[in-house]
Structure formats: C-alpha cells, structure tokens
C-alpha cells in the first residue's frame, strides 16, 4: 500500500512539475520539424538554401500572411473561425490603390486600410457574439461581400502610380553582413522589406497580448471552456467580440503590407489566403477547438508551409500539381501528429 501511495505521490509531483503545456509542446514540435527540414534542405539541395537571402525572401513574400495568421490564431484560440481575412486583405489592397491613384495621400490611405479592417471586425464581431450567429456563416458572408466589393471597385488589375507610395515601396532594410558576393565580385546585401518589420511588430505585440495581458489570457479561458470562463466572471461576449475586431484590424494591416509588396490591386489578390492562414495556424499548434495555440508557433507554421513549397520546386518536381499535393500531405502529417500526441497525453493524464 505504502509503495503505491508513494508512487502516486511521485506521479502527482511529476505532473505538477510538468514543464510543457499542450501549447508549448505543439509549438516545439513545429519549430523542431521546421529546423530539421531547413537543415536537410541546406545539406541535400544546397542552391538558394545556403544564402540567408532565402529566408528574407520567404519573409518578404509572406509578411501579410504572417499578419493575417496572427489574427486568425487569436480567433481560433477563442474557439471561433474567421474565413473573411483573405478577402478583406484583397479589398483593402484594391481600395487603397484606387484611392492613391485618384490623388490621395499616404497617411490617409493607411487610415483607410485600418478603417476597412476595423469595420469588418466590428460588424462580424457584433453579429457573432451579440446576435449569436454561427461564425462560419457570418465570416463566409463577409468573405463574399469583400470579394464582391473588390470586383465592383475594379475588375481589371490596377497598378499603384502614386509617387510617394513608389518611394515608400523602395525603402528596404539592407543587412550587409548577411549578404553574399555576386559573380562580378560585388557585395549584394540581404534585403528585407518594410512589411516584414510591420509583421514582426504585430507578432511581438500579439505575443505579449496573449501571454501577459488579461484580455489575452481571457481568450484562452474562453476557448478552453466557455461555461467556466463565464463562471470566472469573464465577459465572454465582449471577449469574443474583441477577438474578431483584432482579427479584422490585422487583416487591414495585412492588406497594406500586401500592397507594399505587390504594388498593384487585383481581384484575385490573396486568393485562398484564408485557408493558408488556417493551415499555418494549425501547423503552428493552434487547435480549432480553442484554448490551445501561440503566435510564435503560427510564425513557424507559415515558414514551414513556405519552405516545403520551395523544397518541392528546387528538388526538381516541376509539374504544377506537386506543390499543393505535398502541402496537403504535410498538413495531413501535422494534423495526425497533433491528434496522436494530444490523445496520448490525455490518456496519460487520466491514468
């Protein structure tokens, strides 16, 4: 009996000392797999993977996806879903380009981007949290509306011809010591776009929000168990409302970053971005059921998604269908891994 008691106590102790929560465990797995993938690519594929510029290219191309995924991660932690983000991004790009081309100024265009995002967030958040309509349907309608408005503004692609904006687009952060020598002997510094800085700023702000601020902790509580969150005195409706507002504002920011990257508005901009963002969040260890997740994981999720595409291209599978087939395969791998790992842990806890 005594031995059993001691064992029990021991197991309780280890449980109490358990260093990793579900969130941290899933995030660690993602980061490890990403590192392993990148190192293997460096060893076997060489080529571009040996240059630091490859990483910066990935960041430059995906700055807006990172921002959108951050917003989606918050919504998903709260137990909801927002599939309007890609369409809002596209609408913001189109309206800002049209505004700038009709002689607007840059400061107002930024406000316009934020305003559109905020408006979508407010309306969708109100409908979902205060009128208790299913989030999927509301944000689906938001997606239809934003896509429709984009084509109403212009069916043809619009190129931004604003002088000040062109100058802003040219601003790039150069890091000489990470550059490489071109064939003619000139040093080509590593280049990073302004959008990446914005993306990192968003990442840090949301990381702090989720980790150390009451509102952020409330998202976890609400997503984990809405009933007990209510009992703890959390204003669940307001918290849910705010999660959609934040996601909306971030899609606005993402739209502006997208415009700085492409410099043109097009009705097909950011097509399928919402699903890419959901995939990034899932790979990063966010569960759609809510309560588990972290933006740092999401960031590595985005990078993993991009890296696998680059690896497919540079390993010689040039047919157009291989990229998405491997992406699907990888998604399957991560989803199964999470399910198995979490299932195993839940069993262990019960025992």
């Amino acid at each position: 009996m005594d031995e059993k008691m001691i064992e029990k106590l021991k197991s309780q102790k280890t449980y109490r000392r358990e260093p990793l929560t579900d969130t941290q465990l899933l995030m660690t797995i993602t980061i490890c797999i990403f590192m392993a993938m990148y190192v293997l690519a460096m060893v076997f594929l060489k080529g571009g993977f040996l240059h630091p510029q490859q990483v910066f290219d990935m960041l430059n191309d995906n700055a807006s996806l990172i921002i959108v995924s951050c917003g989606l991660t918050i919504v998903m932690i709260g137990g909801g879903i927002d599939i309007s983000v890609g369409a809002v991004t596209s609408l913001v790009v189109m309206s800002c380009v049209m505004y700038l081309n009709n002689g607007g100024n840059i400061f107002v265009s930024i406000l316009l981007a934020l305003g559109i995002g905020l408006a979508f967030g407010l309306v969708q958040g109100f409908l979902i949290s205060y009128l208790e309509i299913q989030p999927f349907i509301v944000t689906l309608a938001g997606m239809f509306f934003a896509r429709g408005m984009t084509t109403i503004l212009s069916v043809n692609p619009q190129k931004a011809a604003h002088e000040g904006f062109a100058k802003l687009r040219e601003v790039k952060i150069e890091i000489p010591w990470l550059g490489y020598y071109a064939k003619n002997g000139n040093l080509v510094p590593a280049r990073m776009e302004l959008g990446v800085v914005v993306a990192f700023a968003c990442l840090i702000v949301i990381f702090i929000l989720l980790g150390f601020i009451r509102l952020g902790r409330n998202f976890y509580a609400m997503g984990g168990n809405q009933q007990s969150a209510l009992m703890l005195g959390i204003n669940v409706k307001k918290t849910r409302f705010l999660s959609y507002v934040i996601s909306g504002v971030l899609s606005g920011i993402s739209g502006y970053v997208f415009m700085m990257h492409t410099g043109a508005g097009n009705a097909t901009n950011a097509a399928g971005m919402e699903m890419n963002a959901i995939a990034s969040s899932i790979i990063g260890g966010t569960l759609l059921t809510g309560g588990v997740g972290n933006v740092a994981g999401t960031f590595f999720g985005t990078l993993t998604l991009t890296t696998i595409k680059k690896i497919v291209v540079s390993s010689g599978l040039r047919e157009p269908w291989w990229q998405s087939i491997t992406t699907g395969g990888m998604l399957c791998f991560f989803i199964l891994l999470q399910s198995v790992v979490l299932g195993y842990r839940a069993k262990k806890k019960k025992a």
């Binding site: 879903i81 409908l127 205060y130 009128l131 208790e132 309509i133 299913q134 999927f136 349907i137 509301v138 689906l140 309608a141 938001g142 997606m143 239809f144 509306f145 896509r147 429709g148 408005m149 084509t151 109403i152 069916v155 009705a267 699903m275 959901i278 995939a279 899932i282 759609l288 059921t289 047919e319 157009p320 269908w321 291989w322 990229q323 998405s324 087939i325 992406t327 699907g328 395969g329 998604l331 399957c332 989803i335 199964l336 399910s339 198995v340 299932g343």
Partner: protein
C-alpha cells in the same frame, strides 16, 4: 398582416420557416419587379427537341449539383457537427476519373458511362472515407480534416488529367448534361429527384436518420445505447462521397469537359450555406434534408434574380452576402427571442413561443 403570416409559418413549419420565408420573399420581390420573370416557355433546342425554357427552369436546373451536395452535407453536418469543405475539390477528382474512363474506352455507350460513373463513385467514396477516418477515428474537427483535401484535391484532379482539360463528345453525355430527347425537363433535375427519392427510401427502410441524429446530439450517449458512433460518422462521409460523384458527373456532362480549376468552384461554401439556410444547426444534431434542398434553390434563385437585374457575375457575391446576413439575422436566436417577447406582449400575439421550436 405579413407578421401574422410569418408567425403562422413558424408555428406550422418549425425548421423550414426560414427557407420558405426566403423563397416567398424572393418570389414577391420578383413579382413586383418584373412578373415576366416567372414566364415558362417552350422552345426547340439545337437538336430539335421540344424543351422547357425560362428563368424558373434555369433556377431548378442550375441548382442541381448544389442540391445533391446539400443532401450529403446535411448528413455530415448532423453526424459530425462540422462541415466538409473539400466537396468542390473531391467533385473535381470524381469528374476527372469519369472523363478518364470514358476517354480510355473505344466507344461510349450506356454501359461504359455506367462503368465510368461507378468508378467515379468508388474514388469519391475512398476520398470520403479518408476524410471520415480522420474525423471519426482520429477525432479531428471536420473542417480541419477536410482542409487537407481542399488544399490538394484540385491538384490531384490536374494530375489525373495529365495537365490538360480533356473533353468528351458523345450524345449520351450531352443527354445527361442537358436534355434526353423526348423529355422536356432537364436531365439534372431528374437526377436530383432520383437522388432525393433514394435518400427518402434509405431513411424509410433503415434507422439511418435516427442514428445520425443521436450521434450528432450526443456521441457518447449514442455509443452507450449501442450505436456505433464512429461508423455512423464514417458512413455519413461515404454517403457524401456518392453525392460528390453525382454532382461531379453532372458538372462534367454539362460542359462536356473537365477543368480542374473551374468545375464547381466555391461550391463548398454555397453548400454549407444551403444547409444553414435550411434551418439545420451547423453544430450537429437534428436535421431536415428537405430544408437543405430548399436552401440550395434559394441560393440559386437569388443568383438568377441578381443576374436578371443585370448584376455582373463577379459582383453577385457582394449582394448575396447582404441577403445572407439579413436571413441569418432574422433567424438568430437572440432576435427570435426578442420577437417572441414582443408578440407575447401585444394583444394579437399568442402566448405560445413559436420561435423556440424552430431552433
């Protein structure tokens, strides 16, 4: 007046209130706008057959794929409490298989078309059971599980097609896609009727409906009562696979070619919408297939109405969104409760709370 009418409906129809109100509103709107919208004519098509034509016919014909998919999606929604977002991609795969088989046989006749359709069915059921296994065995949220096939499904179709958009040209395929000689009703409509009757019979002779509902309402309670919840979830995805194959084959037959990018594009969103407009709870549980079918026709009627108002096909989405939001706001529990309170207070209202039964 109209309020009183609405209340009557909600008393009698329960779950079907919203879809029927939506159809009535659309009909009324079109009557005021242009009564000739409802004109049904008789015309001769290119082959010289006598066929029906008009907006109503094109609504009922155009919603065929959506209606078939909505039937399967309702089952999945009811059993699993989530939606399959890969139906469009899976339909592209099924369509590709259908065309691939027809291309590989020397002559296209009734038998080979049947063989091609059965193969498409089998492939779609395999993909359905893949999704189903992830959901039922590994307990992954349906939307996440089907995100995998959503991501890569159209690429797999592209792969099967060998990087091209192959065409099939045969009178049988044309007959499936448009009209059978001698019958003035479009063939896809007949197929929808056949599928609906098949499901009605299935529900009548098996306990599928009851079992699906009980699994959706409370999976573990259903299991304790001896229902194999895992199998029911898997079965719902396999049945959706059959619906997907039917929809994919109709879509291919309409155009006589398979284009992996555009075949049934964005149909997954419309299908989920049809299920929601049909008054089904997207969280699982009780369901009504008839609601979803009416929901599919509501969506198509809305689209055709907007086309008739000279809205361009790319802009339709924005107006559709507004109507959807209006519909779901009317149907939202909070608004229903307020409405019920108001009618209870007023003299004419009955003290019963009709809104409660509807959700």
């Amino acid at each position: 007046m109209s309020k009183k009418n609405d209340k009557k409906f909600s008393l009698n129809l329960g779950q079907l209130t919203i879809p029927i109100i939506a159809i009535l509103l659309l009909v009324l709107f079109n009557l005021f706008r242009d009564p000739s919208f409802f004109y049904i004519g008789i015309a001769h098509n290119n082959d010289g057959n006598i066929v029906l034509s008009g907006n109503l016919v094109s609504i009922i014909n155009g919603a065929s794929e959506l209606a078939v998919l909505a039937i399967g999606m309702t089952l999945v929604t009811a059993a699993c409490g989530g939606q399959d977002i890969s139906v469009g991609a899976a339909a592209a795969i099924a369509g590709s298989v259908f065309v691939k088989i027809l291309k590989s046989v020397p002559s296209i006749n009734g038998f080979t078309v049947l063989v091609a359709f059965v193969s498409a069915c089998i492939v779609a059921m395999i993909f359905g059971s893949f999704n189903g296994t992830l959901v039922a065995v590994f307990k992954i949220q349906p939307m996440i599980a089907t995100l995998i096939l959503y991501t890569c499904g159209r690429s797999i179709a592209y792969w099967i097609n060998g990087g091209a958009t192959p065409t099939v040209d045969s009178p049988i395929i044309t007959a499936i896609g448009s009209f059978i000689p001698g019958i003035p009703i479009p063939t896809p409509v007949l197929i929808v009727v056949a599928v609906a009757i098949a499901f009605k019979l299935l529900f009548h002779f098996t306990s599928l409906e009851l079992f699906t509902q009980s699994v959706g309402i409370n999976g573990s309670a259903a299991r304790l009562n001896g229902i194999n919840a895992t199998f029911m979830k898997l079965l719902s995805f396999i049945l959706l696979g059959v619906c997907v194959a039917v929809a994919g084959s109709i879509g291919v037959s309409r155009l006589g070619l398979i284009n992996h990018e555009t075949l049934l594009l964005d149909v997954e969103m419309d299908t989920i919408l049809a299920v929601a407009i049909g008054g089904n709870n997207l969280g699982g549980g009780k369901f009504k297939i008839s609601g979803s079918i009416i929901g599919a026709y509501v969506i198509q009627m809305l689209t055709i109405t907007l086309y008739a108002m000279k809205v361009s096909s790319t802009d339709v989405k924005a107006y559709k969104a507004i109507v959807i939001i209006l519909l779901v706001v009317i149907g939202s529990p909070v608004i229903k409760a307020k409405f019920a309170k108001l009618t209870a207070k007023s003299k004419f209202g009955q003290p019963k709370q009709p809104a409660k039964g509807a959700d």
